[in-house]
């Protein structure tokens, strides 16, 4: 389908229609009809009739009715092709029809935009731009959620990922974890509503943070195949598992439950999610296989079993990674925002919403590292009575307060909220995947950007089973999640490119990545990782973050440099020794040819000369 605006718009309308149809049919008692991929590609005319028909069948509110004339207008030129040949008059006519445009007519078009509708149109923002990426994003969202759930519940994660190819462009992704499970009443919301979740409203290190991912994957699946998300979850061995089939109503951003029943399930606790989607399976850097490989690198405490769609034997997993350690990553604490990281608008909102009665109390309890004494100081410095009710602080005062906070020296936020992977585990995991001759790593001390604590970890592997004359690989991680797309836009890539690798004995073309059998792993962990977009593909270029990454790279680089220099020295030494034994016989042979002495003399010459050179080398 075309990528232009119209196309997208039509698609979303079609989708809404289909969702409605699916709901209707399920209400009628039958299982939802499998929306064939071909159906999605029905000619435009058909789509149009459907779209036109839809608003009619609904109770026509003013807002809903509005798109209709707009669409009808667009359809018109198609019905009268001769008009298309004369664009001038057509334009004029369009203007005539639309006139008169007044604030009133425009206001009638202005309405709420549902988040789900927005993302259905802008699926690329969430990582569903093409079929290959859609598959990766879906797997990624499911695995990330499972890992988060297990870590938070302090359960050593055991995750199974299975991808089955159902048709040329049709796949089913199934992810099973041994996590705590989800209580049945929340399941529809978790999987059927965008921006619903436990992770957005808190500052805590976790893989997910927005509450979009898995429901977006479900929405994409529904959109492309008509199949709802199928979820089985069990919270305890004492309870039975619940099975749900959930669609998402994009206009209302609300789950539509197709099926709900109690079932028997072989696992004591955990969650299984199944999404059917239109996708394609590829190999290479952006592949699911590569994601699985990279996720194990950053999560050495998790066991992950993976069945790729092209597996030769149906039962045998393609990859089976056993955990390298039994120690779970340390539990991370949730923290309050640091005053430095709060923008004026957010501060004003917090002032309005807080339950606290006075300003100093508000500052002290809503922010980290602000004591009552410090709060009072801030109020004094800003010239606002510390006892004023927070919601009575107006915009000018809020601005004063914001400026004062920036000028006040406040302790950096607590950093126990971040759990690094750790140098030893990083190196062990790296070794398991890239059997390199040299591996080093560094976990840096936590630092702060915009009031958010973060921490950088770097690992280097050199001499792996990689080509020596190509750019090194860069593995980027944010909160233990690999980032596979948008490499060029990422702060990590920028840091790697701007580090002077020549100093450490590597080739480094200007403005590029270092060349050699090299793997650079960078992990940025934070309570809030600043991504450049909702699809979480690249880390934003905060100077503080780039600085920390570069310091880590430099430290590991120095160690690599020492290793490479030593290696070169050893090689030179060996080469020299080799030189002596290789060429001295030729010196003697040439002399023998010229001077005509006997073989004994020749051998004596070799022996003497070897001794002489061995001695000279040691000096």
């Amino acid at each position: 389908m075309s990528k232009d605006k119209d196309g997208d718009a039509q698609q979303s309308f079609l989708f809404a229609a289909k969702a409605t149809a699916a709901r209707d049919s399920s209400r009628g008692g039958g299982a939802p009809k499998a929306g064939k991929a071909s159906k999605r590609e029905t000619p435009r005319s058909k789509t149009k009739t459907k779209t036109k028909a839809k608003p009619k069948s609904k109770a026509t509110t003013k807002a809903k009715a509005k798109p209709k004339p707009a669409r009808a207008k667009r359809a018109e030129p198609a019905e009268a092709p001769e008009a298309a040949e004369a664009p001038e008059p057509r334009k004029r006519r369009a203007r005539e029809e639309a006139a008169p445009v007044t604030a009133e007519t425009m206001s009638a078009k202005q309405r709420d935009i549902s988040v789900s509708e927005f993302f259905a149109k802008n699926r690329h923002l969430l990582g569903f731009d093409n079929p290959a990426k859609a598959l990766l994003t879906t797997v990624k969202e499911l695995v990330d959620n499972s890992l988060d759930a297990c870590d938070e519940a302090r359960i050593p994660a055991e995750i199974e990922v299975r991808i089955d190819q159902l048709a040329e462009d049709r796949f089913r992704v199934r992810c099973i974890d041994n996590g705590p499970g989800i209580v049945p009443k929340n399941i529809p919301l978790v999987f059927g509503k965008l921006l619903y979740g436990s992770k957005f409203h808190r500052l805590k290190m976790s893989r997910g943070q927005q509450g979009i991912g898995v429901s977006a994957a479900g929405m994409y699946g529904l959109l492309t195949t008509g199949h709802p998300v199928r979820v089985i979850s069990r919270t305890s061995p004492k309870k039975r598992a619940h099975l749900f089939e959930i669609a998402i109503d994009t206009q209302k951003n609300h789950p539509a439950v197709k099926r709900e029943e109690e079932v028997d399930w072989e696992h004591d606790h955990g969650t299984q999610v199944e999404i059917e989607l239109e996708a394609s399976y590829r190999k290479g850097q952006h592949s699911v296989d590569n994601y699985i490989l990279q996720i194990t690198l950053a999560n050495p405490h998790a066991s992950i079993t993976y069945w790729a769609p092209d597996r030769p034997n149906n039962q045998e997993p393609t990859h089976k990674f056993e955990r390298v350690t039994n120690d779970l990553p340390p539990a991370t604490a949730e923290i309050k925002p640091h005053p430095y990281g709060v923008e004026l608008g957010v501060l004003m909102q917090m002032l309005r919403e807080t339950k606290l009665r006075n300003l100093s109390g508000f500052l002290a309890s809503e922010f980290s590292r602000v004591s009552i004494r410090l709060a009072t100081e801030i109020c004094e410095a800003a010239g606002i009575p510390s006892g004023r009710k927070p919601d009575a602080v107006g915009r000018p005062d809020a601005e004063k307060l914001h400026k004062t906070i920036a000028a006040t020296k406040i302790m950096t936020p607590p950093t126990d909220c971040i759990a690094p992977i750790g140098e030893e585990l990083l190196e062990r995991a790296m070794k398991a995947i890239h059997p390199a001759e040299f591996i080093t790593s560094q976990t840096r001390r936590p630092a702060v950007y915009r009031g958010n604590p973060f921490l950088v970890e770097v690992a280097l592997a050199y001499g792996a089973d990689l080509p020596a004359d190509e750019s090194g690989l860069v593995y980027r991680y944010a909160n233990r999640v690999p980032l596979q797309y948008q490499q060029g836009a990422c702060a990590v890539t920028r840091s790697v490119m701007t580090t002077d690798w020549k100093k450490y004995g590597l080739q480094h073309p200007k403005g590029g990545l270092p060349v050699g059998p090299l793997v650079v792993l960078v992990h940025v962990a934070s309570v809030w990782v600043p991504f450049t977009s909702e699809s979480k593909e690249a880390i934003a270029h905060y100077p503080e973050i780039i600085k920390e990454i570069k310091l880590g790279l430099q430290d590991c680089g120095r160690r690599l440099g020492i290793h490479l220099r030593r290696r070169k020295r050893d090689a030179d030494e060996a080469k020299k020794r080799d030189y002596i034994t290789r060429y001295i016989p030729h010196v003697a042979a040439a002399l023998q040819e010229i001077l005509g002495f006997d073989d004994a003399e020749r051998d004596r010459t070799i022996e003497t000369l070897t001794g002489v050179l061995e001695r000279s080398r040691k000096l």
Partner: protein
């Protein structure tokens, strides 16, 4: 093999009639006189053996042998006005046998051994052939002809001190040398020792081709001078119209910068018969600063061999910058590289710096900003060069540029 000796006539005298000249030449060839500048085969073998012995003795005493090579760089080159060529200085680069030099040391000795074998077997190897022979030396083989050429240059520099050049070491260049015609008889011997007398007037419309090594040749001639020509086309014209007969000269086609053997060939003619040598090249910085300069005083980069290969008695007949004016020759504009080359010659070349007449000629050329080829004379008629230009020029050899 004994050194053949040749005496250049002490009294040059004015060029006489053809017949008497031949007699004079034959007489000269039979006169014993001063030694030739170059060494004999026996001396070559002796030098190689001596060098090897020195290395061997040094090793036997438990020391590290070394080879002292003249430094082959412009910093070690000076223009000897009295002798008339660019001469290599006294700087020596001592290459001591060490871990880092053991490979090239082995290769140098191996190549010297090959040279000895060639001299003793009275054979030769081209540079390319020598490179392929090295493929028998296992680890010591050359990976590239550039390497074997460089080692060969080292050996030549080493032996140039004892007046032995590469041709005497029996390593020949691949390049075609040059063509000769005129009143000259070359006495040559092939590998079987058979003597051939080659009459260079007797090649019809063709010409005699200068061999790679000219040391063992003997000459008889009645010519009055040698005329060196830059381009094959001009040579062809003069040769076909028997210009050598009319002017009683030996014509030599250089084909651009003359090869070592052509230079050596002409040098011997000029030394042994006291013949003047005139160069007839294009009037451009390349013809002057490269072709003529190399012919007369040798090149800076191979200064160690200049004493064999330069022709100090050469003079520049034309085309001179003044000829462009006098003969109203059609011209082309000087390119940037030409101007750069001319300016570089004025600034850095010890030869041009030492001759005021050359300085003003080059300055004139730069100022005119044009160049003219030998063939430009054809504008005045195809045989204008034979009938007018050369005869008129040859009336006043004293006017030739130094």
């Amino acid at each position: 093999m004994a050194a053949r000796k040749k005496t250049p006539g002490k009294t040059g005298g004015a060029p006489g009639k053809k017949g008497t000249a031949i007699k004079k030449a034959v007489k000269r060839a039979n006169t014993p006189g001063e030694r030739r500048v170059h060494a004999s085969d026996a001396e070559t073998v002796r030098e190689i053996t001596t060098t090897a012995e020195r290395v061997h003795d040094s090793i036997a005493k438990g020391g590290r042998p070394d080879l002292a090579l003249p430094v082959r760089a412009l910093s070690n080159v000076s223009y000897d006005e009295k002798r008339g060529y660019l001469e290599i200085g006294k700087q020596r680069k001592v290459r001591t046998l060490s871990v880092n030099t053991v490979k090239s040391f082995a290769q140098t000795l191996r190549l010297m051994s090959l040279s000895k074998e060639l001299v003793e077997g009275n054979d030769f190897a081209t540079k390319r052939e020598a490179y392929y022979i090295s493929k028998n030396w296992d680890d010591a083989k050359f990976d590239d002809q550039v390497e074997s050429d460089a080692t060969m240059d080292d050996i030549e520099a080493l032996f140039s001190v004892s007046s032995i050049n590469r041709e005497q070491l029996r390593f020949y260049a691949e390049e075609h040398s040059g063509s000769v015609s005129g009143p000259l008889i070359v006495v040559d011997r092939d590998n079987t020792g058979r003597v051939a007398r080659i009459d260079c007037t007797n090649f019809g419309s063709g010409s005699y081709s200068v061999p790679n090594s000219v040391e063992e040749l003997d000459f008889e001639t009645s010519a009055d001078f040698v005329l060196l020509i830059e381009t094959g086309g001009m040579f062809q014209r003069l040769q076909s119209h028997r210009f050598w007969e009319r002017s009683n000269c030996i014509l030599v086609d250089m084909g651009g910068v003359p090869t070592r053997s052509v230079r050596r060939f002409v040098r011997r003619l000029s030394d042994e018969f006291n013949l003047p040598v005139y160069a007839f090249v294009d009037c451009d910085p390349y013809g002057i600063a490269n072709i003529y300069r190399t012919l007369k005083v040798g090149s800076g980069s191979a200064a160690h061999v200049n004493k064999f290969f330069c022709v100090p008695k050469a003079h520049f007949l034309g085309v001179t910058p003044q000829d462009i004016v006098d003969y109203e020759l059609p011209t082309h504009e000087l390119k940037d590289v030409d101007v750069k080359r001319a300016k570089d010659a004025l600034k850095n070349d010890p030869f041009f710096k030492g001759h005021p007449r050359w300085r003003s000629a080059l300055e004139q050329l730069i100022e005119m900003g044009v160049r003219a080829e030998q063939q430009a004379l054809a504008m005045w008629g195809l045989n204008y060069v034979i009938d007018e230009y050369l005869p008129r020029k040859l009336e006043n050899p004293s006017q030739f540029l130094p």
